[in-house]
Amino acid sequence: MVAADGVIACVYALVLPMMTRDGPTPGPALWWQGMVVAGIALPCAARRVWPVPVFWTVLAVTVFGWSTGHLREPFAAAAFALYPVALADAPRRGPSTRVIASVSLGLLAVGLVAGTPVAWQGDLVRLLPLGPVMPGASWAIGRALRDRRAAAARVTEELAGRAVAEERLRIARELHDSVAHSMGVVAAKAGVTRLLLPAGTDASVRAALHTIETTSREALTEMRRMLGVLRTEVGPDELAPAPGIAQLPELVRQAATVGVRAELDVRAAGDLPDTVQLTVYRIVQEALTNVVKHAGPTRCRVVVAATGQEVRIEVADDGETDLADPAAGAGGHGLVGMRERVAMYGGEFSAGRRDIRGFYVSASLPYRAGERR
């Protein structure tokens, strides 16, 4: 962007003298003119770097050129330099965009009635209405674009916030669901064991089982109530059990039907706790969805490796990721969810471009093993 501004500044520095030289009066000293042209055109190269100083410099030199008759520059450079100032302007400061646009149009109308803008003369009477027209238009356009960008940024922020909230709701729902199932197993097991106790069993054992049974039943009732709050609608997967490691091959098969050939490598992950299995599944699911959506037909490698204390998940593809920055763009939605899930377990998460080509997602979740069955 800055390089483009530099090229424009240099070209303008070359064009400007031509506009000046074919004037009706004999030109002033050439070196003076050269200085003024350079003073107007060259700062424009840095308009995005120091918008405000560049604008005032260009404007000052232009006014000086006009008033001393060195130049009949139509304030094009000033307009060019004002644009980034308008873009960076703080919201709700200065005159409104509408006022700027209306005044510019009004001045243009006055100028058109008063005289032909083509016959640029050095007199200040002409300058007054017509000078500000081009900068005014530039200012108005810059401001309008700024307003639009600000609105777009707000919408993006709101959407991102909503995505996080929705994802947290989903995570909470799945977690409560999983805990409720475990609680149900406790209640059923305790109840049946109590019923089947042999006749001579100590009364305290019977009482203990009864306590386990009723307490877990009460907890389950609370969980159901909680789930009623969390459940916004019955999802399409409510008729199937919560997915886990055993369902990963099915995900890979689904990806294959849309052209992503994934290679699945699961190491020692069969007896992870249910909630961790579900989290692993969701992360692989989101990562594969991103590959399908953004990398198109490609190859991809999925590794799920458990060590007994930690499970690592790596999903890496060789595709041409179609987003400038998938972590920030539309592809970020899935990443938001993955990050949230990993954060819940106090794990680590990273995602980004691979060195040569493709995109990777890497996560690790700590867990406690050996407590099942």
Partner: protein, 222 residues
């Protein structure tokens, strides 16, 4: 003694399957004839084993419990399905009843109640908790459409039958109704049988609907 009630346990969690099987086998009048890990397996085992009652989980891989119930009820009318699930979501209850399930219980139901539930269903009675019956009525209240081809009137019912119908609509079992009205269970059963005939109802859920549609009971609005 009459023949034992043959029960099939369908649940994808091995721990629960084992627990319920243990419970069934502990009752002298019940016997577990098999287990199923998926809905598809339940359909298969039910076809070969011809159980009296299937204890059916809803969330199962391959085929969910509601679909499995539909297939089993269509294939063998003699088999009753008792849904046994962790959540009493409306969609589960209504889906299961539409599919032909005879009853619906939660997995943490006290084991004594679970056993009597199996016997109730095996005897051909429906089984819903009062809470579910209430929601069933509320659901019909929401989707009430005056399209009933046969207007349900209670003109042909005796006073006693109306009383029984009111209690059925509140989700009470025959034994509970008998207790309420100081009748013998056999008398209640014959009253319910008359209600089935007079109201052209296939099961208790339909009796509940008839009770609602006729205005005998109103939806419980909380």
């Amino acid at each position: 003694m009459t023949e034992r009630i043959r029960v099939l346990v369908a649940d994808d969690q091995a721990l629960l399957r084992g627990t319920f099987r243990l419970l069934v086998d502990s009752a002298p009048d019940l016997v577990a004839i098999g287990e199923a890990r998926t809905g598809a397996e339940a359909v298969d085992v039910a076809r070969r084993g011809d159980p009296d009652v299937v204890l059916m989980d809803i969330r199962m891989p391959e085929l969910d419990g509601i679909e499995a119930t539909r297939l089993i009820c269509a294939a063998s009318p003699g088999t009753r399905v008792l849904i046994l699930t962790m959540f009493d979501l409306d969609s589960y209850v209504f889906g299961a009843l539409r599919a032909g399930a005879s009853g619906f219980l939660l997995k943490d139901t006290p084991p004594e109640d679970l056993l009597s539930g199996i016997r109730t269903v095996a005897a051909g009675e429906g089984l819903l908790t009062p809470r579910m019956t209430g929601r069933l009525i509320a659901e019909f209240a929401r989707h009430a459409h005056p399209t009933a081809a046969v207007p349900r009137t209670l003109d042909g019912l005796t006073t006693r039958e109306r009383e029984v119908l009111t209690l059925v609509a509140r989700g009470l079992s025959n034994a509970e109704i008998a207790g309420h009205l100081h009748l013998s269970p056999a008398t209640v059963k014959s009253h319910v049988g008359h209600l089935f005939t007079k109201l052209a109802a296939r099961d208790r859920a339909q009796l509940v609907i008839a009770a609602y549609e006729s205005g005998l009971v109103a939806a419980d609005r909380r």
